[in-house]
């Protein structure tokens, strides 16, 4: 190393040390700036559904809290293998609150939360018990599904309706149980066909299979199909266009985001307000009221519901009053909506 370079290096180091040592002008004066990070589910931003809803919650918090928070959102790779790395990255950078969107985060958040006890975590759709720095944000999907099931049964003219699920897991079976319960509650003799696209995460991104499954159900006489299958459901909508039948969307108000020709076939969507859950959690945390444990978002908390918009208003109008009445009964606890197969059987046995 030449003498010139040595001097240059020494000067650089000295400058760096000085800069680091002198506190920034505002740093001391400012109140705490909360740093909030989100790691999305497979699919990332622009899925027009689950992840975009989470982003909407984050964006709302950013807008309302302004300079009080600083946000960052990250997308895992297509297969989602680097979920844990991204969580660790945010934790290492001293984020205060970190969201994992989707049940697939269950294992990685459990591990990372143990390693970073001072960071607060929130998982959407996943259940992590007994960790002082993790809150599990769960939805009562069965309640929203109950309402769209009732809507489907009331609107069906063939007496047959269908369900297309993504990956066959308890989470998606919750949608199915609620849907069937709602349909049979308002029309005991309705027939419900139920199919799943698969048993791996791939089952949420196979629109080709979704279309074939839906076509099969339409061929068997179903005239309305509810999908809870992520990207696979785009195929269900496409099948509805081909057969000129109806379909029900999920998670977001899908009437707003699909192609115009599919829009006319969407009766309604079962909204799962991930945005509400994300926003509420951020707000509570910044107010110093973060609470670990489990939070449930049902009809009562406005966490689930059915979508009404300009496109489906005319279609849904005839059953809206009935749906509102059912909603009231569920909130009041008069109807206990089943959330799995066993409860569903018990529920159906009580119907006369």
């Amino acid at each position: 190393m030449s003498t010139g370079m040595r001097i240059a290096t020494a000067v650089l180091v000295a400058v760096a040390v000085l800069l680091w040592a002198i506190p920034g002008p505002q740093a001391a004066a400012q109140t705490k700036k909360w740093r909030v990070g989100i790691v999305y589910d497979v699919g990332g931003r622009g899925d027009l559904s689950f992840n975009d809803m989470a982003y909407a919650g984050l964006a709302r918090a950013q807008k309302e809290l302004g300079s009080g928070i600083e946000t960052r959102d990250l997308e895992p790779t297509a297969g989602g293998e680097n979920r844990e790395e991204l969580l660790r990255l945010l934790s290492g950078e001293k984020y205060d609150l970190i969201f994992g969107i989707g049940f697939l985060f269950t294992d990685s958040i459990t591990r990372v939360a143990k390693d970073f006890p001072n960071v607060k975590f929130a998982i959407v759709d996943g259940f992590i018990a007994d960790q002082p720095n993790v809150v599990s944000l769960l939805f009562k999907e069965q309640e929203g599904s109950f309402l769209v099931g009732a809507a489907a049964a009331l609107k069906s003219t063939t007496g047959k309706i269908g369900f297309v699920g993504g990956m066959k897991i308890p989470l998606i079976e919750k949608f199915e149980a609620g849907y069937i319960a709602g349909a049979k509650y308002v029309k005991k003799n309705i027939q419900v066909f139920s199919e799943y696209a698969g048993t791996t995460g791939e089952a949420f991104r196979d629109p080709v299979k979704g279309k074939e499954l839906a076509l099969a159900e339409y061929d068997r006489g179903a005239d309305i199909i509810y999908h809870a299958s992520g990207g696979t459901g785009i195929g269900v909508f496409e099948a509805a266009v081909v057969q000129r039948r109806l379909a029900i969307g999920v998670d977001a108000d899908q009437s707003l985001t699909v192609k115009p020709d599919q829009r006319a076939q969407i009766l309604t969507s079962m909204m799962k307000r991930v945005d509400v859950a994300v926003y509420d959690t951020i707000k509570a945390t910044t107010a110093g009221q973060y609470k670990a444990g489990v939070r449930q978002f049902g009809l009562k908390e406005n966490g689930v519901g059915y979508a009404v918009n300009d496109y489906n208003k005319a279609m849904i109008q005839s059953v809206a009053a009935r749906l509102e009445a059912l909603k009231k009964d569920i909130i009041a606890g008069k109807i206990k909506v089943p959330s799995d197969k066993k409860q569903l059987e018990a529920f159906l046995a009580t119907l006369k």
């Binding site: 990332g44 931003r45 622009g46 297509a78 991104r205 629109p207 785009i234 496409e238 599919q262």
Partner: protein, 323 residues
């Protein structure tokens, strides 16, 4: 008894044909590459490119030339297919350049293509549409009702609303079979895959023919992707190929490296796939049905069912003797 009748319902057959198509097109491509002596396991990646560029092409045409697309509704999907084929050719060219000219291991090049395609599709999708995993929706070809047959009520689900790409695919099988069996190009391509040195001494340009075989495989796999995106899902969605490119390779082996064989094998895969989606009460769990074609493929490869005869120089890079 109910399941016996549903096993051969026309609606099931129609579904089977739709599911068969992408596998068939890609495995036709594989036949051409391997007949010339180049293994192309990059088919899956090329299909991904096909799905992406198929959707991009159709969408771009629709938005750039709305009046043209309105007057001739088939133009936009056609533009999509052409874009997908072009992307397939480009990827085929990369594979050919790397494996034929530079004699890199063909498996490694194929794996690289598969990895590249997945990342590239996501990158371009974010660049063009500002979201990671799906393109905007596109329009498909106007479906065709097959004349005469469409008047038979029993066949209606099978012969009405047929995608023109399905008809194209079936025609391509016949053409490929004829080309490989009867034409000068086909015979030379096969010679190059069997015994390149002999072909070379007779004045056949081994490199040119192998390039042609690989380029054809790229074009056909691109078309397979376009079929998925334009005709089935009507958009590009990340991961929508679901490993069909690899199944196409299995179909090629099962079909003994012949186009007609590939048709039979793909149809078998497609039929079992559709069966598991459609028939409600099967005598065995549907997972068994799903693995059946793959087991048969392994048995074929192992020589239990019948001898698989792969081209003798398949997968072996050819080096011209030093002058």
């Amino acid at each position: 008894m109910e399941y016996m009748t549903s096993l051969f319902s026309v609606a099931l057959l129609a579904s089977a044909i739709r599911v068969t198509m992408p596998i068939l097109l890609a495995s036709l491509g594989a036949v051409h590459a391997e007949r010339g002596g180049v293994v192309n396991i990059g088919l899956e990646g090329i299909m991904i490119m096909g799905t992406f560029f198929g959707a991009v092409g159709a969408y771009a045409f629709d938005t750039r030339f709305p009046s043209l697309a309105q007057t001739w509704p088939n133009l936009a999907p056609l533009a999509g297919v052409l874009a997908a084929v072009a992307a397939g050719l480009l990827f085929g060219l990369i594979h050919a350049l790397v494996t034929i000219t530079f004699r890199v291991d063909q498996i490694i090049s194929g794996v690289a293509l598969n990895l590249l395609a997945g990342g590239l599709a996501r990158f371009l999708n974010i660049l063009l549409f500002e979201k990671a995993t799906q393109s905007p929706g596109v329009r498909g070809f106007t479906p065709i009702d097959i004349p005469l047959l469409r008047d038979l009520p029993a066949l209606r689900p099978l012969v009405t609303g047929v995608s023109p790409m399905i008809i194209t695919g079936v025609v391509l099988v016949a053409v490929s079979q004829w080309v490989l069996r009867r034409t000068r190009f086909g015979l030379r391509l096969r010679a190059v895959g069997e015994y390149p040195l002999a072909a070379d001494t007779l004045g056949v340009n081994v490199y040119h023919l192998r390039y042609a075989g690989v380029l054809l495989s790229g074009a056909l796999a691109g078309m397979a992707g376009a079929y998925l995106a334009i005709e089935q899902a009507r958009l590009y969605f990340e991961g929508m190929t679901q490993g069909r490119g690899f199944i196409a390779l299995a179909a090629m082996i099962f079909g003994n490296w012949w186009p007609v064989g590939a048709l039979g094998a793909s149809a078998l895969f497609g039929y079992f796939d559709a069966l598991s989606l459609r028939v409600v009460r099967l005598p065995v769990p549907y997972q068994f049905i799903n693995v059946l074609p793959h087991i048969v493929t392994i048995l074929v490869l192992a020589g239990f069912v019948r001898r698989a005869r792969m081209p003798a120089a398949d997968g072996v890079p050819y080096t011209k003797e030093e002058e």
